[in-house]
Symmetry: C2
Subunit: 118 residues, 2 copies
């Protein structure tokens, strides 16, 4: 279970298959461009807050606290939709991204390509 | 570390921050449509095979074995590009998807929307 008890809709909670820390990965995709911006983690309460406030909210594994994306940077994420995958262990969050999603200042966290091929 | 020792390029291996099972999540996105298809897991050797063969290869946590996507279903993924994120703990794999990515027959695993809003 997550770090705090949650008000998440029980029907949604029943769908989730969490890891041993009570978390599921959330893939964050930009509405319109389709760019994959980042991956973060949610527990039940982070998902509840995301669904009810429309502001993307994650669980910070390093700081062990809830984290409303953009709260300090201003680089907020307005949530357009949230989907759960076929086996309930991953979320896909579609957002309108203000500014850069990445703490490095890059728009996406995935700016380093690896070499494919022999 | 991953389940087997790997021939992964040491420079790439140095970038990776693996979980306690030696794995990193791989977000799989369809080239062209931009659709996010699925999330799977890679250890160093799965990434090495993906990069060198151009065929998306994952580590199956349930079966505890390597899994060349589409090997049994025919729904193969030809890899266009692989990116690692800013802190090295997530991969983004861009693929040309043959058939459905999801074992349910859906094109994407993310076909169940949750309700956003009050």
């Amino acid at each position: 279970m997550g770090p705090v008890s949650s008000n998440l809709d029980p029907e949604v909670a029943d769908r989730l298959r969490r890891n041993e820390a009570g978390l599921v990965p959330a893939v964050v995709q930009e509405h319109g461009t389709g760019q994959v911006l980042m991956l973060a983690w949610m527990d039940d309460e982070a998902l509840h807050r995301t669904l009810t406030t429309g502001r993307a909210t994650y669980w910070s594994r390093s700081r062990q606290e809830y984290w409303v994306k953009g709260e300090t940077s201003g680089h907020v994420q307005h949530v357009r939709s949230v989907a759960v995958d076929c086996d309930g262990d991953t979320l896909l969050v579609t957002v309108e991204q203000t500014g850069a999603a990445c703490h490095t200042g890059n728009h996406t966290c995935f700016y380093t390509d690896l070499k494919v091929g022999q």
